[in-house]
Amino acid sequence: MNAAVTPARATLGARLKALVGPEMAGPVLAFVAVVVVFSLVSPQFLSRATFGAVGFQLPELGLLTLAMLLPVLTGGLNLAITFTANISGLTVAWILHANGGLEAPMPVFALACLAAIAVGASTGVVMGLVIAYTRAHPILVSLSMMIFLRGLGEFLTRGGDVSGFPSYVQPIGHGTLVGLPVPLLIFIGCVLAWHVLLTRTKLGFNTFMIGSNIEAARYSGVNTRKVLVLVYTLSGAMCAIAGIIMLARFNSVRVGHGESYLLITVLACFLGGVNPFGGFGRVIPVFVALVVLQLLSSGLNLVGANQHLATAVWGILLITVMVLRWVAGRIGPFKPGKG
């Protein structure tokens, strides 16, 4: 029975599957688990307060994860993301200080943001050029850039904070717009931009192709060097946006801010189903994975657990997901041997 209905359902199912993809299973499962467990443990978990905490804390890690995602998809890595964010934040701070400090007018701030994005992008251009032309390993190239930026930043700030910005900067980190945290809105905008970039543009398509097999992509006429340079440039620019948000949230810039996020961004990518060797991955599952990590951290906070313990629980979650993925692969369809 229902013979007439089945095909329509199948297409709908296929469409839904195409929209979310198989990578979505892990993050969604983790999401459900976290929400169920914490709402049982703590009645306040499903509240506005939790949502607010997540909404304000998520964007920093989230934007840095987006910056990490593109290089990971090409089979590379950008270890310089946190210091690129710091240097971009410093760019904004210095431009504001040089133009009136607390009294700096808004257009100056706008220009300062553009300059910060340019600085972030240019670190990416340099890394991209070196990786594309010398074929040096991205880990080494970005590690060198990370050390350079850290040294440069610490030298210029003498290891201290730079603070004191006009009052209109604060809302970018703390304000709300139509009831939603401003940093969350900026982050969601960036997530959508990355989603469109990866699913609908030529650059996105070529990013995946390069990640799977760069030589085969070159033989098919893909300008592999251009793609690599653009990928690292966009990664750097995204770091700058993260740097501006961090500046607004802390109301100060210090080289080393957010350093502990570096490896968590890599893990968030993998939790979101991104292939660690490149070529496969989607933005939306990574976004869900980030929400899970943040919910977990907020929930533990709510039940009174230590912040360091929260980090430890992140580690356990990630390991659990890897093991579950392996288990899911084992019970998948049996593969017959070749003749």
Partner: protein, 504 residues
Amino acid sequence: MTEALDRGAAQRPLLSLRDINVTFGGVRALKNVSFEVLPGEVHCLAGENGSGKSTLIKVITGVYRPEPGAVIEYGGETYTHMSPVTAQAAGIQVIWQDLALFPEMSVAENIAFQTVVGRRPRLVDYGRMREAATAALKRLGVTLDVDRPLKDFPIAQRQIVAIARALVGEARIVFMDEPTASLTQSETDCLLDIVRTLSASGVAVVFVSHRLAEVLEISSRLTVLRDGALVGVYPTEGMTQSRITELMTGKMFDQTVRARPMEGRPVVLEVDRLTRAGLFEDISFTVRQGETLAITGLLGAGRTELALALFGMLRPTSGSIRLEGRPVRFSSNRDAIRAGIAYLSEDRLSLGLIQPQSIADNLVMASYDRLLTGGLLSERRKRDLVADWIRRLAVKIGRQEDAISTLSGGNQQRVAIAKWLATNPKLLILDSPTVGVDVGARAGIFDIVAKLAAEGLAIILITDEVPEAYFNADRVLHMANGRMANWFDPRATALADIEAAVYA
């Protein structure tokens, strides 16, 4: 009755299998197969991909366990199944296509590491390893510097190292899986000599190869499998390549020369004294609309390099290329693609297609620009384009999103051809389009080539199999040592004459 069969009747087999059945999740990979190898003989195991050759070898080496009822007799003992340990201890060795060697380790370590594994005291005796390695190489009549790391040696020598390793394991029977797939003609000859040496010293060799000429040259008997079932066991004496093809595929292929006169048609490509120092020299030819020009010659004759120069991936040092009368100079293959040249790589696995990615993505990769509206992809146009090419080239696929690696060699090659046709080329260069494609599927590829030529596409077909060139091209250019050696017209020359010239 031939001598080989008489001998077979007289001699007790070294290895004999009966009633072998293997099922994978409902698919019967082997159906009541039996197989026999005589001591010291060279036996060929032939069949298309998926016919059960690898499965049979894995049963013999203990990787797979056959269903109850199987009988395996080896060296006087009877087994219901083998295990990897008993198979190795009994002297059954396999040299897989990927060789399974350690590139960073020395030749001696690669050959003789098994001799030190599991012995006490648990120390590595390098002196003994070197001795064992040198002795094994000597049995093969080869000298190699055993202290150098394996990665310093080309593939042909690595193959010899893999064979020497089998000898150290006191092999009585050696299985070789496609051993000549990546060797040049002279390297192949050298390998065949080694196989003869092995056989003369009493080691049986089971040879798995797609190259039927070699099969006929080296082996005395032939076992043919098709769709997991035994077709038969035949003496190679009196066999022909076309008869083997028939047995493997169960189909008749009547080949006729497709060459037609091309004079007077507009010239698409004109190459004049094209030279790339050290790779090829003084190459001049034209290809006309609807013409198929074959370039043949041994591996290393400069054919692929010439193709890469036409495709903008290798800069010529002198000479000129004209496309439809206009001189062209490409700074990358993107220029060449834009100008209307397409190049199907000889290495489908690592350069031609991106194996883990989907059928659809592989197909649209070279023509992605055509799918964009205002810089954004139109999913519908992509799906329609892919569906259209899948239909036009009769590619057998499941879903467009499946990885290209799930397709057979022949279907993968059809997708690769579609990828280039989607760029709307004027000239299509096919570099060894039938490598790793089953005999049965090859005919299908050449039917497509013929159809494209009839529609007016200019085609350069590069192949080291002279019959392919002879039957499918309008003219045949023979290259040797980077130079033009001969021109042949298939309508006026016998296949044997061309083969004699090329393989001389």
